[in-house]
């Protein structure tokens, strides 16, 4: 059924059709509308046979989900930013215990300075926690990925994060096709846990494992992700067969066939990138793009295949690995091991800064001319940086950087929005 709704609402409706049994809710912008929507559906009875639990923190939210999942219930929660960090210990734990929890991340920057707008710093911080991470490019894909995520999680006994850009997707009203319950039921069988807490068949879950077996346990976690590399495209195909549209899978190449320049990115920015690619193709530039949907597991082979004939790769990253540069670039470089081409890392869109078509157009032109720095910060206000560095050099007690910059740009936080 086609609906013109907010991205969060779309996700909530998708979750509801997945028949979750336990939902843990803790508010944090920008994911809050999702759990609000679900809470409404549970309270009204629209979503039956579901426990909606208002917890006292994100740490508790995921912990409740861990308990529910271990006890055989389909469990869901959502968070973002600081919330994800606050539950970090439980994030690792859920994966370590092999519990197929699905969690939405409304991607948002991490403070300080506190910032509620979008980038990928939050989910990137948990990239090695053992969860599968899927990044949605559109609201429709966000909706669809959740349906696939439950099936993927439960087939593998592995938790899945569906990452969608905060505000850009979560708060955007767009037309989406909300699938019928029957179709979802047909696609997503009821939860058959691999292990469950049950007095009829008691087990001890969460043992302490020492050096004698820890490496093997970690290898098996890796192996599970390797299996996901095979399973994700199959589920995507199955999804397409039932719902008639392509969603998810590992990577999505766009006009890469003869491209000399290929732009790699995660999430919603791919929409803008594709628009610019189209423009530049129209102008005869051999350019394409590659959207990575599955960041964990990282599809080394698919990325390599998509990029191996290009002359250069530009990786747009919504997260800065401070002191290094890009995180996605690392994976891309890894995928291209032994292949000689130019690689550029572009840090863009941090803390919600808009990534404009104009900026991208210039960026790709510079890349095509190979005049880009290997690490580039898109739209960086060099003058401001210069001024602040000088100021800090002059006074030992130079005060907080963020506030000084805000003063310099003539705005305060409350006026930005």
């Amino acid at each position: 059924m086609l609906k013109q709704i907010e991205g969060s609402r779309a996700v909530a409706e998708a979750i509801a059709r997945c028949r979750p049994e336990v939902i843990c809710a803790y508010p944090i912008t920008p994911q809050t509308h999702i759990v609000e929507g679900l809470g409404e559906m549970v309270k009204s009875g629209e979503l039956a046979n579901c426990e909606f639990i208002n917890v006292e923190s994100e740490f508790a939210a995921l912990s409740v989900a861990i308990g529910a999942s271990a006890a055989g219930a389909r469990a869901y929660t959502a968070t973002a930013s600081q919330g994800l960090l606050f539950m970090a210990e439980a994030v690792y734990n859920a994966a370590g215990l092999g519990l197929p929890i699905v969690m939405t991340i409304g991607n948002r920057a991490i403070g300080a300075p506190i910032n509620i707008w979008n980038d990928h710093s939050d989910s990137m911080s948990m990239r090695d926690a053992g969860w599968i991470q899927l990044y949605a490019a559109t609201n429709q894909e966000a909706l669809d990925l959740h349906i696939q995520a439950f099936r993927l999680a439960e087939e593998l006994s592995c938790p899945v994060m569906v990452c969608m850009d905060g505000f850009i997707l979560t708060h955007a009203y767009e037309r989406v096709d909300v699938p019928a319950q029957d179709d979802v039921d047909a696609f997503l069988p009821s939860f058959e846990p691999r292990q469950v807490l049950d007095p009829a068949e008691p087990v001890s879950m969460g043992a302490m494992v020492g050096p004698e077996a820890f490496t093997e346990v970690r290898y098996l976690a890796h192996h599970k992700q390797l299996r996901a590399l095979e399973l994700i495209p199959k589920l995507s195909a199955a999804f397409q067969a039932r719902f008639g549209r392509s969603s998810g899978s590992l990577v999505k190449p766009y006009r890469t066939e003869d491209a000399e320049t290929i732009v790699v990115a995660l999430g919603s920015v791919n929409g803008t990138i594709q628009e610019v690619v189209d423009e530049m193709r129209d102008a005869g530039v051999k350019i394409g793009s590659l959207a990575i949907c599955s960041f964990r597991p990282f599809p080394l082979e698919q990325v390599r295949d998509a990029l191996r004939h290009a002359k250069r790769v530009v990786v747009i990253e919504k997260c800065l690995a401070v002191g290094l540069g890009g995180i996605v670039s690392d994976g891309v470089r890894n995928a291209l091991s032994g292949i000689v081409l130019r690689g550029y890392t572009v840090i863009a869109g941090l803390g919600g800064r808009a990534i404009t078509r104009a900026a991208l157009r210039q960026l790709f032109r510079d890349a095509g001319n190979d005049v880009l720095e290997q690490l580039t910060f898109l739209d960086l206000d060099e003058g401001l940086i210069q001024y602040e560095l000088e100021r800090e050099a002059q006074a030992r007690r130079s005060g907080p950087t963020a506030e000084a910059i805000l003063r310099r740009v003539g705005t305060v936080a409350s006026q930005v929005a």
């Binding site: 215990l97 292990q195 068949e201 969460g206 043992a207 098996l220």
Partner: protein, 542 residues
Amino acid sequence: MDKPFAITLDVGSSLANKTGSWRTSRPVYVDRLPPCNHACPAGENIQSWLYHAEAGDYEAAWRVLTLDNPLPAIMGRVCYHPCETACNRGKLDESVGINSVERFLGDEALKLAWRFEPPVRDSGKRVLVVGAGPSGLAAAYHLRLLGHAVTIIEAGPLAGGMMRFGIPKYRLPRDVLDAEIQRILDLGIELQLNRKVSNILDTMHSGAFDAAFLAVGAHIAKRAYIPAGSTARMLDAISVLRGMEGEDKPLLGRRVVVYGGGNTALDVARTAKRLGASDAIIVYRRTREKMPAHDFEVEEALQEGVLIKWLSTIRNMADEGTLTVEKMRLDDQGFPQPTGEFETLETDSLVLALGQDVDLSLLDDVPDLVIEHGVVQVASNMMTGHAGIFAGGDMVPSERTVTVAVGHGKKAARHIDAWLRGGRYAPPPAHKLAAFESLNAWYYADAPKTTQPVLDLARRASTFDEVVRGLDESTALFEARRCLSCGNCFECDNCYGVCPDNAVIKLGPGKRFEFNYDYCKGCGICVAECPCGAIEMIPETI
């Protein structure tokens, strides 16, 4: 369930980890000798019969009791219960009223006519018992149970000895005495009354006895030289008490003086009161603390109006019944010394209660005997110097109580049995005494001793009804349950419960417990928390 590797485990799999290897010392169950058992002259396994009484299984309790003592109803009335003096519970609140529970069991047995099981087979040996007092009866009982043919020859007209002729009815009703004696005789023991054995060797020979146990008692009253007028009425205590058993009660008059300080003196004074005396005065040469009589008897006598003149001796008795009494004082050694101060007492009769001697004439012709201080010397196996002749009770050196006598009878019977079989009786090695300090008294609930009801004073002073009445069933049960079970497991489950390693195996009712040394880490909590001190730690050897 398709469990993930390592992080999810099969339940109970820790049994593969034998933590017993950590141990440096191990707990072991022990049995210790409870102080009551240790103190009992009759060798009763008191704690063991209390164990059954605690559960309300009185017949089992009685059967365990009578393995050692066939006279519980009597013993429950006349025993001076050294067990209670020794009882560890006395250090906690008050001693367990063992004696009253014993009496309850004895009375219950009489009421319900429980019988002894006769021996399964006869040994073919014949044993002669001389004297049907407590010692002789006990010996006869045990010898019969051991399969021997037993004949008791008694000089008096009735069986019972001092129990009948020395203990007043108000302390031991005669129906109780008769019933317990009859139950012994019902085992198939021959009793010949009114027959005095004048020569033991002749009697043994003519009766073809293989062994003899002599327990003739001490019936000859000791005399003291007291100058007395020809009409002065002076009697001895034994005659008075014996006279109480006949048709004609002794005539003592309204004023009676009893001379002596033992239990017999008290018995006579209290008997005199019951016969109608207005004054019953005991004259004793030392102090109450030095008096050999038991304190509770003194107390009961005083309550009944018996007067006692301490530190006094009788110098003479004039015809009219005027006694001259000299005041005494105790010297540094505690002996009474004359002071030269005199006073007079008016009395209708003077009863001498100065102890008894043994009539040893039946041993006149027996060689190899040693007789000292008027009693026969016996070895540790109760045998006299003459092989095959054993002796016990008041005629051998010992304290003269019914309980001691019963103990002699049992002990002698076991040695006679061994001797008849050509061996030696070796008692099982005694366990270490269960000291109060080895108990964890925390676990015993507070429960005061049940006081036996005491007959209303006015009533008991004029009748020969029993002064001390028995416990009823509920109070007897309560009293039995006050037992701490010192030194012996009573299956309280503490060790089973308090082990942090589940290393104690409960074997089931009556079967106690076992340590599972595969897992016992040797922490010792079971030892510390065992209420009765029945576990100890011993060093582990490698």
